[in-house]
Amino acid sequence: MTYMKKPAVHHSGLPANELGYTVRDYEGGMSTLCAGCGHDSITAALIQACWELDIEPHNVAKMSGIGCSSKTPAYFLSQAHGINAVHGRMPSIATGANAANQDLHFIGVSGDGDSLSIGFGQFAHAIRRNVNMLYLIENNGVYGLTKGQFSASADVGSRAKGGVVNEQPPIEPVLTALSLGCTFVARSFSGDKEQLVTLIKAGLRHRGFAMIDVISPCVAFNDHEGSTKSYAHTREFHHPAIHTDFIEPKEEIRVEYARGASMPVELHDGSTIVLRKVDVDHDPTDRARAFGYLERHREAGEIVTGLLYLEEEAADLHAHNRTAPGSLVNARPRDDQAAILEEIQTRYR
């Protein structure tokens, strides 16, 4: 069978963003995922966020690995170029693509298997390079596409459909990202669209590697009683530690933000992220404390969500490299090359 394109019916009724696009213009092909799959909600949030940020669709580069989660880039922004890397290797594709052209928006979508098993090394090193991109882990604790084996994010004690109980410690994307120097560390839940859309917007505007670990239940293989990645379990234990507001340059910041436990952080493009602590004992700008806080709550079985750590000043890949502005796509042929080659060779004569 061949991939289905949605009929491009135009709902004139819909509101348009600054570019005159409606949300429809940010959609993609029809999803082939299971009805109720968390991943589809994340796709919806991405569409919403890009529309709200007035992003020119074809200025986005969509990237993913292999897995149900990694199929989703085909389901949003059909006017943007997209690429499915091989399994677990999207971070290297993203790094190379971003190296070649820093002018686009980079969105990487991955799964827990894709990023934490086969792709763990690349994931870690993309973080170290602070590649300027939004990196989503659609985390369901299993390998969906290969029918439900435990992934590296499965929690100790979580029970598989077959009954087997996982005993290996999980790889916690947020803890790991933190320990690797990630500059934007967030966690969310596919069922909390409001929080998710805000985090995605903030992540897209952050200059650097913005990692969002999104708990995204797999209805086919990991949404049962005893699973710690089910809708029920996540709803019960997820615990927003930080409330995040994202304010675009155009809007001005409403007063009440000045005071209290809330801290506004200005981003490179002039937009602002306002963090309001829900838990006072967590400071999203102090890595050492963040570690302790996150680990404590992890041990308590709580799923802490929100923008958990933010470092806005760190240099990204291109800042490190001191790259000239613009893209490196069009090799500029120069006219003095023959002379230069001559010059170079003197030392070999």
């Binding site: 170029h81 997209g82 893209s327 490196l328 796509v329 090799a331």
Partner: protein, 615 residues
Amino acid sequence: MERVNDFTLKVATANGTGSASANALLMKAIFRMGAPVMGKNYFPSNIQGLPTWYEIRVTESGDLTRSGEVHFMVAMNAQTFAQDHAEVASGGYLLYDSSWPRVRELNRDDIQVIGVPLAEMVNLEFAEVRTRILMKNIAYVGALAGLLDLDMAVIEASLKETFGERKAKLVEANMRAAELGYSYTKEHYECPLPLRVRRTNLTEGHIVINGNTTAALGAMFAGATVGAWYPITPSTSLMDAFKGFCERYRRNDDGEREFLVLQAEDELAAIGMVMGAGWMGARAFTPTSGPGISLMNEFISFGYYTEIPAVLFDIQRVGPSTGMPTRTQQADLMECAYAGHGDTRHLCLYPADPGEAFELTVSAFDLAEHFQTPVFVVSDLDIGMNEWMVPALKWDERYRPDRGKLLSADELKQLPGRFGRYLDPDNDGIPFRTLPGVHPAGAFFTRGSGHSKHGSYTEDAAEYQEVMDRLKRKFDTARSHVPRPVIECVHDAGGGGKKTAGKPRPTRCGIVTLGSCDVAVREARKTLRAGGTELDYCRVRAFPFNEQVERFLREHDTVFVVEQNRDAQFRNMLLMETGVDRRKLVSILHYNGLPIASSHVEEAVLTYLDQGQVA
């Protein structure tokens, strides 16, 4: 033995003692005296203290290859003294450090042994330990200058270049060390020896350079802007050189970089970065060696099927596995041509020396974009890391990168109907390509999973096969585009040999090879011809093999196939990819890690011709 500008000198030392620069100095001096030289470095896969050898051949006849004989041995390493002593050809010379008595039982009356108290002299002259070690090397260079009649002025000049004004003191110190050896030999030995160097002018218009440096230059001049790599011997110096040149010549007026080099976490990431950059539209490359190619297999299969341009350098070393990282071989030929699971095949280019490494690197980037596929530059340690004398490199200002069928924003605006990424509008198997960020009409989804000619996901038997069949057509188109072989038939091979009037008349015997075997085969042909054995010559420069190769094989009824691996991989590729009759092909294999010597080829050919089989 009387040997003027025609001998092989070998220096045996331990690595990490600075002998490398001394040997480079020695070679450069000879080169600058106008005598063609070949230099081969046999170094260990460690950092300090293990045996290492440097072989210099002075060859007025321009045979820049291993002869297989050593006429002058500089035996500075006690650990290998015995074997070095034994290796000297009868009538040859051996120089050793006479500060300590040498092993007595090693006595040969067919060679002349020359003792020079290097350590002794140097220790008297220099106090600091590290300096003493370094200077001992310069001292033997001086000693050789005396014995071989090298021009001390040339040596001094080179030293000045290396150290520059700021380090004038070092120049002075080095010269003092050189003088020690020089005057000692002058004083104690009949100088120059009958084996020596004579000034001439045969190196004009040439440079001495290694193939990783020229490949790096090729990449920069071809307009590569993204390089990704993971360090691995013997490819490391390629990226070092690229970075070095770009730092100087690829920054804008504000000093900002117009290139980005990524030191990846491993080879899987390196090739992924190259694929990402290629997908985005930049000219990107990765240099590696066998183990790296193995790790890149999955991504190479991806690149073939998604049709993303990429340039890979395989600087071959001895396999299998980790093998001998500091020795040379041509044992990745099949790995490169067919890398990756499924039905895949890849364009490969086979440079024969650093000069060609430069040219073919430029071609590689053009071919990669023209055919939208990964292209391999299949080099090896011998070409990549050894210093070769080659004609100076030239650049044509008119060069413009061949971007292939790349659709601009305007072209996309005017596009009638929907863009199909994998169509075959021109019936040459080459589809049109679009880049991210250019125009919404060009948007499509790149996937390594089954796709139709429109680029959409498919599991349909016919849609899948249609794309696979076009890919095959594309490869066939490449056959006539890739660089042609270098063919020399007897009548135009110059010098000696029976002439045949008019256009080449096919002779019975031919020899076919690729890559770094070239120089050895050339010298062998010359010697064989002198002995009355004529061999036509075909050096393959690219895969897929083009029609000229087919014809050469067709027109000869015995064809020697020379290659540096155990399993006759090149011969196997000829069997699979051409119509040749297997009975014609006679394998000449060399795979012990040393660059193949001309004598090896010579002997194999002769044995076959009178015994009907290669020994």
